[in-house]
Symmetry: C2
Subunit: 588 residues, 2 copies
């Protein structure tokens, strides 16, 4: 049983992504919030009815490999065909290639829904989105013409081929070769591992985007080029031709997302097409990766939502022990036991806070593309880029915590696979790893997103928070209480940013040893801030007599987050400001 949290998403789209500001932009002039709501409600039903029921069975059977072919679990191919037929892949993509041109904030909600329903299934469209992004960024007109419409419809799927056995996060070590041919194509040779949906039977064709080196390329990351390698060659009329020389030699036996085939691909002189310029592959791949990293953050929220729904429903049914307040001597449903409540409350607000953070980031992504002036686009880009590693790192680490808490709420039943809670715990564990571990996100946050501009964007964020603090300070008691916590957290953030900006050059090991604590601190603050803004909105809506139950719950969530989660910011700041000596001297 899964129900899409459409209402919370629409609240965020309206109030956190900045719907009215977005709709004032020429790019979106025709869109009503009601239309977006209708789309999301329909997609939510589709996810709940068609996709979610395949989650457990897909996990049990897993993707199956046999002699180069991968068979998806029963029901996946049919469900994917419906997904394509109903046009869901096209939701956030440009109308010029058959897309529906929905803003990112709507697309993000849809991505979360699909992943909550079935993370293994959702990985296929997620990778296709990345391939579309890369082609839009750097593809030639012919390439766009040939591939984009099919990818946007979902008829063809996409993959990202970065990792090689000797090169995981370290792309400088990529050694796949690309030898230019007389006809302008390249022959690609090498082994790529960890290729999500590298081989499967749901789409008609698979478009591999592959990092490789041309013969005279410089060493390191400056010599990497990006190639498009179709599984089946595409004829001039758009029909499919010969099988290309890329073979799936096996798939991995994994802890989770077992229905998502993780392929080892062998390229043996496969025909590839250069995307953009030679030796510029890394920057195109980064474009694709940023989109994918943000989407993986959404997966973190999604798995948390799914685990929360399951745990809450169990806690409201399972009868066990009399309550500690002795209000009855009879056994009660466990949701009445204070620590079950505490676990569920943490799960709920980490999910809600993460979702609000993704909505906030999505608003900046939309602004970065479509804001009226270059200055506004630049500011929006800076904000969006600052937030991407937070969304990826913070929301995925929380996905693991929430899924683990979900097992705990179930007690002994949680450890039994048939219950389903364990699957979320297994599935979630990949999220802080793939598309760059939390440490890699943290290095990006510290190096590229904080130090490079001398902390300007980070401090600009802090200024926006101070504005919220002002509003909270003149509000209700709840608002004031949240405001106090938010101020303390924001001050800790500023102190940390100042510390890192002034010390990283001289003591890089000490500073980077604090990078993940900095990421978790910043993610926590930014999430708590969105919930604090939500509280202000909810109080206004309550005053206007709107949706009492939902708005009251929103306020309670913001308060719980402030009291129980936001307080971690101060501990994290101590680790960064005072803990580097002991980190560097511990004996391993």
């Amino acid at each position: 049983m899964f129900t899409a949290p459409t209402k919370d998403m629409l609240f965020n789209i309206e109030h956190i992504s900045g719907w009215n500001d977005l709709m004032a932009l020429p790019a979106y002039d025709a869109l009503d919030l009601e239309d977006a709501a209708a789309v999301l409600e329909e997609f939510g039903r589709f996810c709940a009815e068609m996709i979610a029921p395949l989650n457990a069975s897909g996990d049990e059977v897993g993707a199956q490999y046999d002699q180069g072919r991968v068979t998806m679990p029963d029901g996946f191919a049919t469900a994917y065909a419906s997904f394509v037929e109903m046009g869901w892949q096209s939701l956030p993509h440009p109308e010029s290639f058959g897309g529906q041109g929905m803003p990112r904030c709507v697309g993000a909600a849809a991505t979360e829904m699909l992943n909550a329903a079935n993370m293994s299934f959702a990985l296929c469209p997620l990778l296709t989105d990345g391939a579309i992004e890369a082609l839009l960024t750097a593809g030639s007109d012919t390439q766009k013409e040939t591939y984009l419409a099919k990818l946007v419809s979902g008829a063809w799927s996409g993959t990202m081929n970065l990792t090689e056995p000797q090169a995981g996060s370290d792309l400088a070590r990529v050694k796949s070769k690309a030898v230019p041919q007389n006809d302008g194509t390249y022959h690609i040779t090498g082994t790529k591992i960890f290729i999500t949906y590298g081989e499967h039977d749901m789409s008609e064709n698979t478009i591999h985007l592959v990092l490789a080196r041309t013969p005279d390329a410089p060493s390191g990351v400056k010599g990497i080029s990006l190639f498009l390698v179709p599984k089946f060659m595409v004829n001039a009329d758009g029909t499919l031709g010969d099988r290309n020389a890329v073979t799936c030699v096996s798939i991995e036996h994994k802890l989770g997302v077992k229905a998502s085939p993780t392929a080892i691909l062998e390229f043996e002189g496969a025909t590839g097409f250069l995307i953009g310029d030679e030796n510029s592959g890394l920057s195109y791949m980064f474009e694709m990766m940023n989109s994918a990293r943000y989407a993986v953050g959404l997966q973190g929220v999604a798995i948390a939502e799914r685990a929360y729904q399951q745990a809450l429903s169990f806690a409201k049914e399972r009868v066990q022990s009399a309550p500690v307040d002795r209000s009855t001597s009879e056994a009660v449903t466990i949701v009445h036991h204070p620590d079950v409540r505490r676990l569920l409350a943490r799960m709920q607000v980490l999910t809600e806070g993460g979702r609000a953070l993704t909505a906030y980031a999505a608003g900046w992504q939309d602004m970065a593309r479509h804001a009226a002036t270059p200055q506004e686009r630049e500011q929006a880009t800076a904000a969006s880029e600052f937030l991407t590693p937070l969304v990826k790192g913070y929301c995925t680490e929380n996905g693991v915590e929430v899924a683990s808490a979900g097992v705990q709420v179930h007690g002994g039943m949680g450890f039994i696979e048939e219950t389903g809670a364990a699957q979320h715990y297994r599935d979630a564990r990949i999220l802080p790893i793939y598309e760059g571990t939390t440490a890699i996100q943290a290095n990006d946050l510290l190096g590229r997103k904080t130090l490079r501009d001398g902390g300007t964007t980070a401090m600009w964020m802090a200024d926006q928070i101070i504005e919220t603090e002002r509003q909270l300070a003149t509000g209700s008691d709840a608002a004031k209480a949240v405001g106090v916590r938010l101020s303390m957290a924001r001050e800790a953030f500023q102190a940390v940013v100042n510390h890192l900006v002034s010390t990283t050059r001289d003591t890089p090991n000490a500073a980077y040893g604090g990078a993940v604590p900095y990421l978790m601190l910043a993610g926590n603050l930014m999430s708590g801030w969105q919930l604090a803004k939500s509280l202000l909105v909810a109080e206004r809506e309550l005053t206007a007599g709107k949706d009492n139950e939902f708005m009251t719950a929103k306020i309670a969530s913001a308060r719980f987050y402030a009291d129980h989660i936001l307080c971690d910011v101060e501990t994290q700041s101590q680790r960064i400001l005072e803990g580097s000596d002991s980190l560097l001297s511990v004996a391993l």
Copy 2:
């Protein structure tokens, strides 16, 4: 590859369990530390060579059920036979029943080793230990005569049968029936679930200890009696007779510890023997459970040690990316990357801190049994009982965190089952659940161990910590730095104890909502305190020129723990002192 951490264990036995004080007791007059060391070194080799290699293969195959029989994975029965033949089961048990009479602090180290080598395997002896404990406490002379020697040797194994489908943690709901027969036996009827090693092919006989109700028993926990139900009846000459009417109807399909069979047992008028008095079963079971809870805490340390060793060895081999300090432009082993160091450091000190806590608790367990005066035994019992839920709760929650961090250190390889890191993550997840969830430990800590004596034992603990703070304050810079953190944490602990003692009666839901934070806070403090004491010892040993490398590392661990882990105590105290309103008002 697993190496038993014998050196750290011996350090703890000598300096944290209080070896010299223990050896001054009449019960232990014949024992040298060298003898204990020799035993542990030999057992460590046995675990590493004979038991650890079966861990991954046991997980892959799992225990297999067929028509009432359970077949253990290849190698388990042979390894168990060696374990019995070499007398390892008997290590901590009384010499009067064939045991070796080793103190608990030595037995605890052995239990940790065996569990680190192979948690699934180790569960069989662990449950047998619990059955021995219960029989020593409440068994009749005939029962002791008939069963103890065989259990102490390990020839027979033991089980605990508490849980029924409708009664997990809530023993008031147990409804298995025990009908008295004319010959003084009882016929036991009912279904028990989650019975670890309830059926298997490693031991000659299995002695089930079963909670059930006699026909006229009062309702609730006051009407529960404890019965001994052998799988095979035992003839007067000690040989095995008929199969008893208890059948394994299936085993569970679990997230982890897959080689440990978790049985559903059907008792159909099985012959049972009353242990102790009717309707007193709960208190005997508590005896057994306390022993088992402490042992599960050891499992938490054990899985952390195993996960740490594996992650450290990977981090020292895996080459990836140039270091952030640019000391070379070449890729280096990932242990040089600051966040990998941070993850490994956390893993290490959580493991070391947990181990020190278990050693400290074991010292009190020994004192509780053998101290010279009733007053000393009473104080030791209070300390030991206060520490049991901390060992169980804190060490198992950390076991999950450390195993998860172990996956993270491996990056993408961690998600591949063949790497082995994922198994620890799966295995660890049961630890905060079975033998009472962390919440149940926390309720025990708050209700029975803190409120019942008005906080006396908790405050007595705080006084002991203050004594350590005094020594730290006059020591080295490192000692002073650790002392500051320890003082802050101890003050937070005292504030929380005072708060809970004064508020629980009037606002039980608020107080119990802080029970797990209180447990985690107290466990953290008690672990950090043991490491602070270790620092003082290590500095003395260094001055005496002893074992430079080990003692320097010990000091560094204590510092890292103080700066990075102990600081969580303050955040936890905020949640308890200021977070209950928002906890109780959050909408679920």
